[in-house]
Amino acid sequence: MFVAVKGGEKAINNAHKLLAEARRGDTSIPEISIEQIEQQLSLSVDRVMSEGSLYDRLLAATAIKQARGDLIEAIFLVRASRTTLTSFGYSQPLNTSEMQVLRRISATYKDLPGGQVLGPTFDYTHRLIDKNLEQTNNFPTAIKAPASNEATPHVLGLLSDEGLMEQPPTDTDAEPNDLTREPLSFPANRDTRLQSLARGDEGFLLALAYSTQRGYARTHPFAGEIRIGKVAVEFTPEELGFTLELGEIEITECEMVNQFTGSKNTPPQFTRGYGITFGQGERKAMSMALVDRALRAEELSEDLVAPAQDEEFVLSHCDNVQATGFVEHLKLPHYVDFQAELELVRKMRAEQNVGQSQTSEAAE
């Protein structure tokens, strides 16, 4: 006798209990704490905050723990939590030239005001597994310079002063478009594109950025400046009419300098690609800057020849929460549609068989 596929609810509940067990792992090993994740897996936390579009270190750490370290799942958790929050306004633009710099490098000038500051970087480490990490409490102490009062102006600003750099957009008072409040529509403005890229998947942007370096929309980039550090977030409540500081956040900012040979209306000059992330996300910020510049092809009257220049292609596919949902929805039952396809294929095969036997009869 046919048994209907009942008991879905019970199966789901049990699966969730099993998941909780699997997350905890071997109980003879101490459970990892949210604070440990926040402190010791801080680059994971930074990525989850960036792509989750929510600056909350402990919430991101909790999401990482709940997701068993699956960062896209953690990003998804943070995004769904963000949905329940009420939006009360937009901050003032961050003033990143006032940044308290932890790291600041330029690949275009050997030395510059504010200096080159390496900060905590993987660059120049030899990628040899450090067996010392198998023991705890085994790490060297760094010698830290006293906080500097020297200004660290933007490298691209120095180029602008000479007129070699395109002028930045001026209407900074305009309210930005917000993808989390308005649906994406095309053609998109640069603010929408930048927001979309900032929320976009690091791996996808990395691959697209790489493709521009390999000739699919080459942009001749130089890392004008990468800076990581803390900046103040300011907000002007309408009812008060003056600006308040809400707190500090850590960000990574990348400004690429790209060659531009000029067009009918514009003299040869350098153009910029911009990337930003919460926390320390240098790879993502650099990728974003390259893709941002590639997406400006139309504005700069360049030939549209590659995926990285295609706004609809890039923006429609860079969101990993959307992508993972739709790819993974193929796990859901599709037996009704599959039944419909089965019926058609059987019918067409039957007709083909009839057709073939008629042809062979005619040949005999």
Binding site: G8, E9, I12, G325
Partner: protein, 298 residues
């Protein structure tokens, strides 16, 4: 074979009463700002049948592609007095239907049912219930790809123009090419329809068997595509025509046998593989329809 029972099942309807709402969330999860935004999109969609209205879809606590569009619509239209039914593949007990029903039990505390007739709101994936819907009922469809022209023209900027100009030549050429190559229109689900002689619309991946049920239906039909951020609607008693040609009229699927549980000859059947010898069984995909007919018979 038993006598065919009457179409309207005479069995008692079963309603799971309202439950405790999880106090951590607003009624039906979404905040009121968001619900208002979605209701505005719904009103526009009802006013322009078949037109895809962009809306600022939110991230929901279930994955994109798993019914977030339908869930957002349902969350925005539910009232505490509603009775909700959720189906996937026609059945109430498929895992994702269970999951969505539980979500609303937890966040809205509303009554739920498996009976099509007892529900005021029915959220569905891939089917329209076999039992005729009534005035006052709302059918909410989960839509993966709302754009019927998407696989002919991937660009949104182009397809929106095509809809505005009613430029559907490309779709007719596709259907014609199917016939010339296969002898049939090779679309068996998500079969395109024209709504009130204007917009060509994707009916979501329901089998074309269900397409005729959309036409002149007394219930309100709402469609939500969360990932693609589109809402569209078919108001009650609206003309919905499946695209076809005079010499190749639209046809629906038919089976050589009735449902092996309830004997229905008018319902969409699922094929169930019984063993590794290729034994198959055909049963109704609509579990409520099948069960209510079986109960009447016994």
């Amino acid at each position: 074979m038993n006598e065919i029972p009457p179409k309207e099942p005479l069995i008692e309807t079963i309603i799971e009463p309202a439950t405790q709402i999880d106090p951590n969330y607003n009624f039906a999860y979404l905040n009121e700002q968001t619900k208002k935004m979605i209701r505005r999109a719904l009103l526009k969609a009802v006013a322009i049948p078949g037109y895809q209205v962009p809306f600022a879809g939110r991230e929901m606590p279930m994955p994109y592609g798993w019914g977030t569009g339908g869930v957002q619509i349902t969350a925005s239209i539910l009232t505490p007095d509603d009775v909700l039914k959720v189906i996937d593949q026609g059945a109430d007990d498929t895992t994702n239907a269970v999951s969505i029903r539980k979500f609303f039990q937890r966040t809205a505390g509303i009554a739920t049912t498996l009976n099509t007739a007892a529900a005021t709101v029915i959220q569905t994936r891939h089917r329209i219930p076999e039992q005729k819907l009534q005035e006052g009922q709302i059918l909410v469809y989960q839509v993966p790809i709302p754009e019927p022209l998407r696989f002919l023209e991937p660009r949104e900027t182009e397809t929106r123009k095509m809809h505005a100009f009613e430029d559907y030549g490309l779709m007719h050429v596709k259907l014609y090419e199917d016939i010339s190559q296969h002898g049939h229109i090779a679309t068996t689900y998500a079969y395109p329809v024209m709504v009130e002689n204007h917009y060509v619309m994707d009916p979501s991946p329901i089998p074309k068997f269900d397409n005729p049920k959309m036409n002149n239906n007394p219930a309100l039909q709402l469609f939500g595509a969360g990932r693609e951020k589109r809402i569209y609607a078919i108001p009650p008693y609206t003309k919905v025509v499946s695209l076809d040609f005079e010499d190749h009229p639209f046809e629906i699927q038919a089976w050589d046998q009735p449902c092996e549980i309830c004997g229905a000859e008018d319902s969409f059947l699922d094929e169930v593989i019984m063993d590794d010898q290729g034994t198959r069984m055909f049963v109704c995909s609509d579990s409520d329809y099948c069960q209510s007919r079986s109960e009447v018979q016994s």
